[in-house]
């Protein structure tokens, strides 16, 4: 048994988004923000969302220098690309699909399927989920910082 291949985890899309994260900035016009924390590895994300009516008009994120592994950074980057301009309900549905995928279900739509390989690396599922939990918290207008140690299904 040689186990899953590293190439399944670090797919080209993920390496690219890690090196060149999209929407990687502070969003001055944000009306929703959330903090995500993975205390085990020190990953931290600040998520900025501008919700206009029922639509995510703009979204961006920041991670303190060195505070994001490739999986968490690429996941945040791909997530912001995927939900920008989408209705809030569609973003929540994507969150569900993403979570289901990592729990062993079908692949999430579009580029998000790049994270299907994370399933074979249980210790990294929290990294992939972090940004999505932060988004969920922001959309719920929750002021509680998100931590990978509190969400049951992280």
């Amino acid at each position: 048994m040689s186990g899953p291949d590293l190439g399944d985890l670090y797919q080209q899309t993920i390496l690219d988004h890690n090196r060149n994260p999209r929407n990687f900035r502070r969003l001055e016009d944000a009306n929703r923000t959330a903090e995500g924390n993975n205390p085990l590895c020190g990953d931290r994300i600040h998520l900025y969302v501008q919700v206009d009516g029922d639509t995510i008009k703009d979204i961006a994120f920041q991670m303190p220098l060195g505070a994001g592994c490739a999986i968490s950074k690429a996941s945040a980057s791909l997530m912001t690309d995927a939900v920008k301009g989408k209705p809030v309900a569609a973003a929540e549905a994507m969150f569900q699909a993403f979570r289901d995928m990592l729990a062993g279900g079908a692949n999430a739509p579009g580029k998000l399927a790049a994270f299907s390989g994370v399933r074979a690396f249980p210790s990294r599922i929290k990294c992939a989920n972090l940004a999505w939990h932060a988004l969920h918290a922001a959309l719920q207008n929750s002021t509680e910082p998100v931590t990978t140690e509190s969400a049951r299904d992280f």
Binding site: R19, D43, S123
Partner: protein, 409 residues
């Protein structure tokens, strides 16, 4: 160097394969693997001698008590404790330090007092003091570290001017590998009127410890980092301090007489060992000590220092690798980062080659902030590691570089 070809077969777990590769276990600062001798001692205890200790009038209970107390004698000898009564069995370093904070600290630290810790302490030697200081309205003062990862002695001297009640520091840093001048630090603290608490979690497994030569007041360590089972460990303290301290946990065994409304306390160390103790852990710790004494702690220390030297040399040859901690006076702990590859990704990639390292903040967040990194990768060695393990580490790190196309600037 130790003969690892002879030692490795004594550690059954090292026979297992990890992702089709030989297991290269380099996370010994987190916990060590256990030799057959320790596993067999625990099994033998349960097969042949198990009973509750210190209370049975029958032969089996006497044997269990003898096994438990023999382990105490072994610990006392291993760290050169003042007396065998100076050894209180605990679940490990964390519980030992919490015992000091909860008993000595609560009885002696008052509003306005100062407690000193260092910026290289593990959270287990910071947080109990934070809790105590918050409860008492005392001040917690953190000593800075130098650029090369040592305790800043100038800042230490300044902190002592405030006449702190207690000074806590690690003998060996788990994040940097620094071996601190514990005897000197203790002497300076005593001159300022403080009692000293030494976190011995990373020193006891790796070098010869002599608490009387260190002249510290409290010395805490864990068994699981030194070949013994998890949940084993001890607080070693000057007997006069233990005598004067109030109990920590109330319950059976720690009492002398119990009245309706009050009790009197058992003698030390039993005063601090309420409830049925973890006898198997103590027995396993005794067996681990016998194993280490047979190897000789000077040789253990030399072996690991040599491995650390080779690892630092080999890792430093990779462009983009930064090794943290001092160049000399260091133990077998090698923390490093590699360009812009996050340590967590590095650990995942290394794991595919069977190489187990730790990635993260190593329970030293104040230190990480001072180093200006969110996380480091850490390789740490023990008696069964050899130069082949370092080669496996180095080649896996190079592989990570190829996968990620490391940016080194």
């Amino acid at each position: 160097m130790l003969d690892t070809r002879k030692l490795r077969p004594e550690f059954p777990i090292l026979e297992r394969q990890e992702n089709g590769k030989r297991l290269v276990y380099l996370d010994n600062a987190a916990t060590s693997q256990k030799p057959r001798q320790v596993l067999e001692a625990i099994e033998h205890y349960y097969r042949c001698h198990n009973a509750n200790v210190h209370r049975g009038a029958y032969g089996l209970a006497v044997e269990a008590t003898d096994a438990y107390e023999a382990a105490r004698t072994a610990v006392a000898r291993f760290v050169n404790a003042w007396t065998r009564e100076a050894v209180v069995f605990t679940r490990g370093t964390t519980e030992s330090i919490n015992l000091v904070a909860g008993s000595w600290g609560r009885a002696n630290v008052q509003r306005g007092d100062t407690v000193v810790v260092t910026a290289m302490d593990h959270h287990s030697n910071i947080v109990p003091w934070q809790i105590l200081c918050q409860e008492k309205g005392a001040r917690l003062r953190m000593i800075e570290i130098t650029a090369d990862g040592r305790i800043d002695l100038a800042d230490y001297g300044k902190a002592l001017e405030a006449k702190p009640k207690l000074v806590a520091f690690p003998y060996v840093s788990n994040s940097l590998g620094t071996v601190n001048p514990a005897a000197q630090l203790s002497k300076l603290a005593h001159a300022a009127g403080a009692v000293t608490v030494v976190d011995g979690a990373q020193s006891t497994p790796h070098l010869r410890v002599d608490v009387q030569a260190l002249d510290c007041d409290f010395y805490a360590f864990s068994g699981h980092k030194m070949l013994a089972p998890m949940g084993s460990g001890a607080l070693v303290a000057k007997p006069a301090l233990l005598e004067a301290m109030p109990p920590y946990h109330g319950g059976g065994e720690m009492i002398e007489r119990v009245w309706d409304d009050r009790s009197t306390w058992n003698k030390i160390p039993h005063k601090f060992e309420g409830g049925t103790p973890n006898v198997e852990a103590a027995v396993g710790l005794g067996a681990a000590i016998a194993y280490l004494e047979h190897l000789g702690m000077e040789r253990v220390a030399e072996h690991e220092q040599e491995l650390a030297r080779v690892a630092i040399e080999r890792l430093s040859q990779i462009e983009g690798v930064t090794v943290y901690g001092p160049r000399d006076h260091r133990a077998g702990v090698v923390p490093f980062t590699y360009g812009d590859v996050h340590p967590h990704d590095l650990a995942t990639i290394l794991d595919r080659d069977g190489v187990c390292i730790r990635a993260g903040h190593h329970c030293t967040q104040p230190l990480m902030r001072r180093l200006g990194v969110a996380a480091t990768a850490r390789a740490s060695f023990y008696v069964y590691n050899d130069v082949d393990d370092i080669e496996a580490l180095v080649s896996a790190v190079r592989k990570a570089g190829e996968l990620f196309g490391v940016l080194t600037s």
